[in-house]
Subunit: 306 residues, 3 copies
């Protein structure tokens, strides 16, 4: 039962609860007009203590397409609640006006504090470098919808695997399903943190760590691209030597399987060449759309209207 | 008849008109779903020339819960109308798009200028240190709803009674009802201004001025707390000596009557200890909710839809 | 057929297509309640990379009065999509959430780039000093509605005719109709650019260039006022000598025809004296209202709901 619950950490829900959300998302995708009024009379508050237009749009479009309405702020400056008031007091006041909250905050743990004090469900829309659980739900729904399953997949994760919270959450989330294997494609400087490797080992999950995308791309079901920021490298030479291995282009796509799909949390900078966009395997804009649908399902479930 | 009227000053409405608003607010509280569409097709413009998230949310939630819609800005930077255009021209243009306006402005009197030039009703959502009439309506509705009456009450006002416009407006507003007595609890430096004392005397309204909350709390029906800012004191020693008298905690609540209610316009800083929040007599979050309901009633009345 | 089209340049539509939009606008004006739900379930994204409250309000009010909904940002700071992401990627993502976009951008051509990459219709809401096509539609609808025709009119354009994109677009747009004559009223420093004069000559369109409004006002059907900015003048003396000729006041109105109408794109500074506002020939606030109606018609047409 998801009604009245919060979503703070990507692991907050059981596999059954996730399945419930994905199932509802599927129904919404199949006949959106049936769900166009299920949140009528309900209000979502989008409390964005740091700007994130993409995520905010996704939440707001989700609520509006369910027939609900929005109040909110999109950056701290415009918000007097951001000044001098505790998150606990803010959420208790917003809880007087709204029915559900999506909170983005630069401080780790702020959405958790909000949830503890809130009379209404709180969704973590990203807290610093910590968690961004609706991105993980988006990734899972996208994979499930396009590949038809969340198990027995060979998943390549490519780019900055050290600092990317998106990738860490996705590894944990996918590890809960059977038979998945990871190919971790990153320069030495940006390998996944040790604690994730330990967990993979502990749970007997198969993985490989490699440096070059072209060496493994032919073997993947899913390629999840992330951004490689120049300033993460220790020196210029390493960056220049390695960066091309982390830019996906038509040449690399030509050696990939016809069934492989390319994902990316967006925004991209240059890690996927524009020429790839028209390839039917490029699914990162579809992924953005699934992000809206999974938020629709999530909101409807937490409000208990479906 | 309130249709088409403005609300600029808390004293703009007669007692009968206030009663009309409170009565409608009561009906909305009793069956909100009956009012969920009364403003369908109507637009509220929230023109906030200075940020006030709490007040803006309250207005926007009110309009949305009546089935209306919102356009607006939440701070002057994002507003080209704020630059170089007169308030008179702005309101005449906004009057082409919207059906009613809530205006917050740092300059005293700006909402009045707007109202004079406006083709649509204007609500003052706070003009500098001057007026904030919907806060006064909120306070009155809260008291009436919880205590059952607006007369024959012993009302303690505690904290900064010198600079707080909220308190000044509330004293004037409550003075219009029979048999109310005030206990004005403030340090010497922050006593109510002389003009208010003169008015109380002129109207034969009973009041006491005291320095310490603990001396009088046992005798109050209502305790209205406000913030005491350190920088208002002439010297550090006075602040340290007195500040504890203006912090409401469990110890002080234990000597208060079981029927006393605690109000606060929010946001609080530290003048009410968090331990008080769970006391059933702590009504300041309820008050925020009444603030939304009274704005719903006000908007519906000024638009003439009820 | 306008469904699915973009509006980037004021000349994008044929005269027949413009007529279609004006006809629908007329129907909306006549019975707005019939159109109050035609965009139900549709989302407009207002992407304002530079603030323009007036234009944003007009678009948002238009969409809301059609029963649609809004997502958007009102300035670049609050927008993460504004940072580091290409307009092409932004529009493809926003196209996942919304059904139609209104884009304001400081860079010439940005809305065009967006339109090329967009899965949904894009409306240019102003791109730098370049184009502002919905202002032109507003001007045309206003003239047509009040004067009853878009042909055989004597149109005075007064003020800064050199830098005002509004005026350039209006001249081009009105030149497509039969029998119109222009009186171009501007100081030497701010005359219309040579390329416009050449076009008028090429198309055998009658025009006069004069320096003083009072010399010609008696002869006009329409007087379109624009702002004359002091800093556009080469020297202070010229400015002082000429500025009064570009301020419309009661004295000048008294020598104008009783049928002449005064238009202005707003905001005004001081080029129209406040005393003129009550003259029934002053139509600049009506014009703002027509701006909302023409955007309603445009949105409905591009979405194909009417």
């Amino acid at each position: 039962m998801l009604k009245g619950r919060n979503l703070i950490d990507p692991m907050d829900f059981t596999l059954e609860e996730l399945e419930e959300i994905f199932k509802l998302a599927g129904q919404i995708i199949a006949s959106p007009e049936e769900f166009a009024h299920v949140c009528q009379g309900k209000l979502l508050a989008t409390l964005f203590y740091e700007p994130s237009t993409r995520t905010r749009f996704s939440f707001e479009a989700a609520m509006l397409r369910l027939g609900g309405q929005i109040i909110g702020f999109s950056e701290p400056n415009s918000s007097s609640v951001a000044k001098g008031e505790s998150v606990a007091d803010t959420i208790r006041t917003v809880g007087c006006y709204a029915d559900i909250v999506a909170m983005r905050h630069p401080k780790e743990g702020a959405p958790k504090v909000a949830a503890i004090n809130s009379p209404i469900p709180v969704i973590n829309a990203g807290d610093g470098g910590h968690q961004h659980p609706t991105q993980t739900l988006t990734d899972l729904l996208t994979i499930k919808s396009i590949k038809g399953r969340l198990s027995n997949l060979k998943i390549g994760l490519c780019g900055d695997l050290k600092f990317g919270r998106t990738v860490h959450s996705l590894i944990k989330a996918i590890s809960r399903y059977q038979g998945n294997k990871f190919v971790l494609i990153a320069p030495k400087e940006l390998k996944v943190p040790e604690y994730i490797i330990k967990e993979l080992n502990k749970n007997n999950i198969e993985y490989r760590e490699v440096e070059k995308l072209e060496d493994v791309i032919g073997d993947l079901d899913i390629l999840y691209m992330t951004r490689v920021q120049k300033e993460r490298f220790f020196n210029e030479e390493d960056y220049i030597r390695l960066k091309d291995s982390y830019i996906l282009d038509e040449a690399k796509m030509s050696i990939a399987s016809q069934d492989m799909i390319v994902l990316h949390p967006l925004p991209r900078v240059n890690e996927i060449a524009y020429e790839v966009d028209d390839d039917p395997r490029a699914c990162y804009f579809k992924q953005a759309k699934y992000g809206m649908y999974v938020r629709m399902a999530l909101i409807a479930k937490l409000l208990g209207v479906r």
